[in-house]
Subunit: 425 residues, 4 copies
């Protein structure tokens, strides 16, 4: 099939020249993939990191590239068809993202009852992508599951894990790419060491213990990306505002009655922004965002919860709303001017963060005769062990003029805390 | 004045931490500057370099930073007030850009009779910026001229030249930044060598002959940026389409009857995109762009013209239109499907390219007693000498299905030529 | 004093242009500082990382540069004299290094009874440096203590801590520089974030809690540098060989009867290499090193010891020697062909590693009124907390032909273990 | 043959992981290749760029890597055997270098009558390399010619040209690597664009006209490397001193009576340095170098000569000596204290610089039917055209205390000139 032959290169700032086959070029040229050019990777982050304007399109190209590198280098020899499929699945893994990427996720779940992974599957099956895949000799059904890591094939789970696992190419790409474009400066992770030492252990993708320190760096870099980019105090303020605007304008967005995949695909950052600018309730928020008049963080506290149940209890909507009311009452401000943000892991906009617990990373070492012997990561890495329980953040936001009252009220309701910032914008 | 004190840092992927004063922070927080977040630096380039989504906002911060470095390092000691003013002027030098940056420029000139530099001046004088500048003890009139290099003060022309000359901080920033975000790979220019060796010669900013090879690299990098990014065959195709869409929708844009600076400032990439999506004539073009269905280059020829008069004659609109008609007739296609593009230097979207001739770069060397002696650049640099005359490109674009006919027709009208491409998207 | 005026720049691959004053230039031009050009930063590492040929000279320039950045940016305003002194002390902090840097350290301690820090102090006081410092208005006594962090001035301990503490500019420079030159790929630490947020708390240098994740990255990067460079299995093999050669030739080196600072300064990598090549006993080892015929690691085990006493007990020379004998006996090989290496922290060649425990890092956060409030690092960072106990490595080396026997013997004496390696040379 | 199978990786700071086969590993482990670890790439440059301590070993690994990339990507499909051979030849292309790389070259030519390329050929045929190559199924004779580009096979000249031509992988590697390790900052050349667009035209390696601007950047970067590194005023001073020391100690070096390849191979930087330290005449120079007491440039002039004959006439030894005498006489200093340096291209230490004229670069463009059509580079690139004649530099060096007299004398003999320097060390 001619689709397997070389088409040309795309220039990427991270990996240099990305080599495309005819098949990949045809899939890239479909409307669902081109739409990703108009969906920013890190909505909200640009208010802190002016350079963070990169899009999902760039990210999926990078993810496809890395999937190819893993597929070529795994000691378990993948067939040509599997290599092709893994690359295409990586290319399509984010095709279901809503505008503003993860920011839209709660809206999507609340009103459509779906995640962006569900949407990826639907779009592959029900858009023009399905026809193009078939034409290129690829099975849309297979790709639609592989791209979200849900093939349920325990013998070759590693195929899915290349795209979706604790050390998948998706995360590798965003660790490097988000650091590059923000300039945040944590991205010095030698992901190729991870890739070149990977192997398969009982059907699962596994990390060689010799790359343990690289794995730890990778996990730390991810955490740092959450703390310094995705959960950045100021960036979260912008995200909360935008989320509120989306709620206000949800009828104009027709989100509650999305009939078809095409209606969903018509939504991109620019289209939604235009709708939010046009809606009477959300317009003011957009004007504030455009002027960078952001709500301010009046209170912040970080705490560690080992127990996931406790953490999830705390982040329940009902608990959050009651605290907002209490603080508003104490501060004598309108309740809609008090926004509590709880980026604990199960509720963060970065949905996949739920698997931050790296418990699932198979590790192996080589026995005296070269055989692969499984090892528990918590036994070889104290660092990973301690990270298995992870911090929750509680923040209270309000408009600038109320900051002092809300700060005092929050302190009296939630306990004294600290706020400190110099490097940020 | 407290405005001079340190406010904090912004993180930039090129220079790391950019230090802001209170004054700078207040100016950055105005609507005209924040609007630059919504104007892409390289409209059209993202169709070739997926990562090229950076904005003017990022660029003006970088330009301000570099202006500060030059101001601190010039052996001629600038006073604190001049240093402040030069940095603020650099920050504001692009505040007048229309949506899609240079792409909009011909529209602006045709219907409003202004360049983006004229608009920068107007906006500084007539928007909220004027008040903020005064509050911070800065003269809006002075800044509005300094930022476009038009103070006309021959004794201290170097102040203007920091921001606008052949080796200004504007060009330095875009050489580094556009290379960084596209990954185009020509940006390895040691601009700090240029900056640290600069001096003032008879009131003009001058380059030390010891940095000559760096200057040559800088000039070459600029040319390469033109050839590989701004004038890239595919990127120009997208630009031609977008320009046509702007023409079609010009009434909806109200561009012909812009009453105030505020109406102009209301236009940003997202607002214009929404208008173009809504207009019946331009909608189809936007849909094509969104799917990356671009017009194709059927013919390309590069030629060198020493004589500026000859070059400008050739790029006259009337000449261009006649050639389009002739080719369309020969190819038996509709005349609107033949687009001739002539990125010769006087007519390029990059208006400031008109000064590409680096004739105006004062060079000096140190005499036996350390005195600065002027030198003609053409005498010390053969490379710069030859670049003083520069290439013109002629390209004929058409829709994909007409490519073959148009190619033959163009060849018979304009002479045989060549097309070659492997690395591009 | 003219010495304070600007002299010129040195180009550094990490920081770009390093600005020198006349004073700094004069100190750099002394023989003790120039000698550092001939002492490699990472002796032994070049057998694994071919590019790791950089020298102490480059490192001390970088350290001086960073000391200047810290001194300029600390909110506690240092006087001009203190800033000058801190930079000069940073420049001179490694002037006492023996050939092959840390590799020579055990020899120095065993036969001279001194550390390289002791030597730094001596050299500043007793070489030409003393005169030059005085000429430049600097107190040799003050500098000789400051440069090793031993001024014992609790009110302004931060001056010493800039150069010598858990987050000093020495470590910052080597984290970046060693990663750069080896290509080891862990060096993406945003040290400027650490620097720009640092403050003084009760006389001590303290880290702002907002930079906590950067601090964790920094500590992790240091650990990774130990594991992937300094303690690299193959690199340690080369180091063990070189150390043995030094022991064999110690009389030719006259190390046991070093009379003066000048005799010590006459030793550099090249001089010592020539001596080792000339000595009958060490010559063979040098020939093997020159051909990269390295001893092989037959056994490796990593274990964690919370208790420092236990760790130091284990690494006692007597214990080590007994184990070597037992393994040699079991493997039926000569005892000199069994080398046990125990890079646990108190005994590593990187002597300063002894403070790897980051217990001493003062952390602060800002209270409601901007006041600095101290925090315990172990309470805010689980990662640092777990790292406070740190791994020991036990390795058994032997010549290639004995590897199998020694491997079995070591396993039976020390317990089963694992060896695994793909990425290395 | 098992030698073709994958052995492992070496980490390189430029290209990341370099993949080695068993064969390559065995060749790397020979004494002649390991010796390159002890020969610096840029002897003399470290006095200006402290970080420039990298070695030929690192460079040949990089060159081998790039040769592999070219071999894999040429549209003309090379067989597996040719690919293997080209990589091995690239690995061995510099195996004949004398200590201090190009610095030793004039000595080698004067007393041995050979170039380092001749030595590469000899060493491959007459050292242990010959046996290892045969064992791995490679023909030493073939490799010994291929590695210096002298196979004389016009049908497949491109094989040689990969390693030795105007755009060979040797030059590509040193442009990137020397810039990286010095930090000189000109190395932003997108060599992979050159590589990925290369093709074969009538048996010769040819550059696609679409990569023309990259080719120009590459040529400029090479020139800049000559001007800012290899011919740097201060670095040349150190080189002249070292060359003089080599002349003084030539009997101790036994250079005039080198009997065998092994005697030659015994010479490396460290061995020669020890000899120079030991020789009564050269010792003083080495002591000066070790203290960085360098001779000073008292006079410098750059001029352009189109005519190669004129240039070579001027750089004749006899002319040089007469001028030295005249200046010494006028300045009333000893003639041995006047050193004229003439780095014009035929006489530079960088012997291969002789081909700097890029006349030999075949260029092609694609005709209407995809056919490759040859083009003259001088017709498509004005920049290359102008560079075909190239500058000569004339410099007069002397010891510091004579600088003023020699400066005046040189000016009266050679005409007024200029000296200017700020950024350097």
């Amino acid at each position: 099939m001619s689709g397997k032959s070389f088409w040309g290169f795309i220039k990427d700032p991270i990996y240099g020249y990305i080599r495309l086959t005819e098949t990949e070029k045809r899939i890239i040229d479909t409307a669902p993939v081109q739409r990703l050019r108009r969906i920013r990777q890190l909505s909200g982050a640009e208010y802190v990191y002016p350079a963070a304007t990169h899009t999902r399109f760039e990210h999926v190209l990078g993810t496809m590239y890395l999937a190819g590198v893993v597929a070529e280098n795994l000691p378990v020899s993948l067939g040509e068809d599997d290599k092709r499929a893994v690359k295409v699945a990586a290319l399509l893994h984010d095709v279901g993202h809503a505008p503003f990427s993860h920011l839209f996720e709660p809206i999507l779940q609340k009103y459509v009852g779906k995640t962006h992974e569900d949407m990826s599957t639907s779009i592959i099956l029900d858009s023009e992508l399905s026809g193009v895949l078939k034409q290129e000799g690829l099975d849309p059904n297979f790709i639609s599951k592989l791209c979200v890591g849900k093939r349920n094939d325990s013998k070759r789970a590693y195929l899915d894990q290349i795209i979706r696992s604790s050390v998948d190419v998706d995360k590798m790409d965003f660790v490097l790419r988000d650091s590059y474009h923000t300039g945040a400066g944590y991205g010095g992770v030698d992901i190729f060491r991870l890739i070149y030492t990977m192997d398969v252990l009982n059907g699962n993708l596994a990390v060689d213990v010799t790359a343990l320190s690289t794995l730890e760096s990778f996990i730390l870099a991810r955490l740092e990306s959450f703390r310094t980019i995705y959960f950045h105090k100021t960036s979260r303020g912008a995200q909360i505002m935008l989320l509120k605007a989306l709620e206000y304008a949800k009828d104009d967005l027709c989100i509650t009655k999305l009939g078809s995949v095409d209606e969903y695909l018509a939504l991109d950052d620019e289209a939604v922004w235009a709708i939010l600018r046009g809606n009477a309730r959300s317009r003011g928020i957009i004007e504030d965002l455009n002027r960078r008049k952001l709500i301010k963080c009046a209170y912040e506290k970080t705490f560690f919860v080992k127990d996931e149940f406790l953490s999830s209890l705390f982040t329940k909507d009902t608990v959050r709303v009651r605290m907002e009311e209490e603080i508003a009452h104490k501060a004598k401000v309108a309740v809609e001017d008090v926004n509590i943000d709880l980026p604990s892991l199960p509720s963060v906009p970065y949905h996949s963060a739920a698997e931050l617990e790296p418990m699932g990373i198979p590790i192996f070492y080589r026995g005296p005769n070269g055989e692969k012997l499984p090892q528990k990561i918590s036994e070889v890495s104290k660092i990973v062990d301690v990270l298995m329980a992870y911090m929750n953040i509680i923040r209270v936001y309000t408009v600038e003029q109320n900051r002092d009252q809300v700060q005092r009220a929050a302190a009296s309701v939630l306990g004294e805390s600290a706020l400190s910032s110099l490097v940020s914008y």
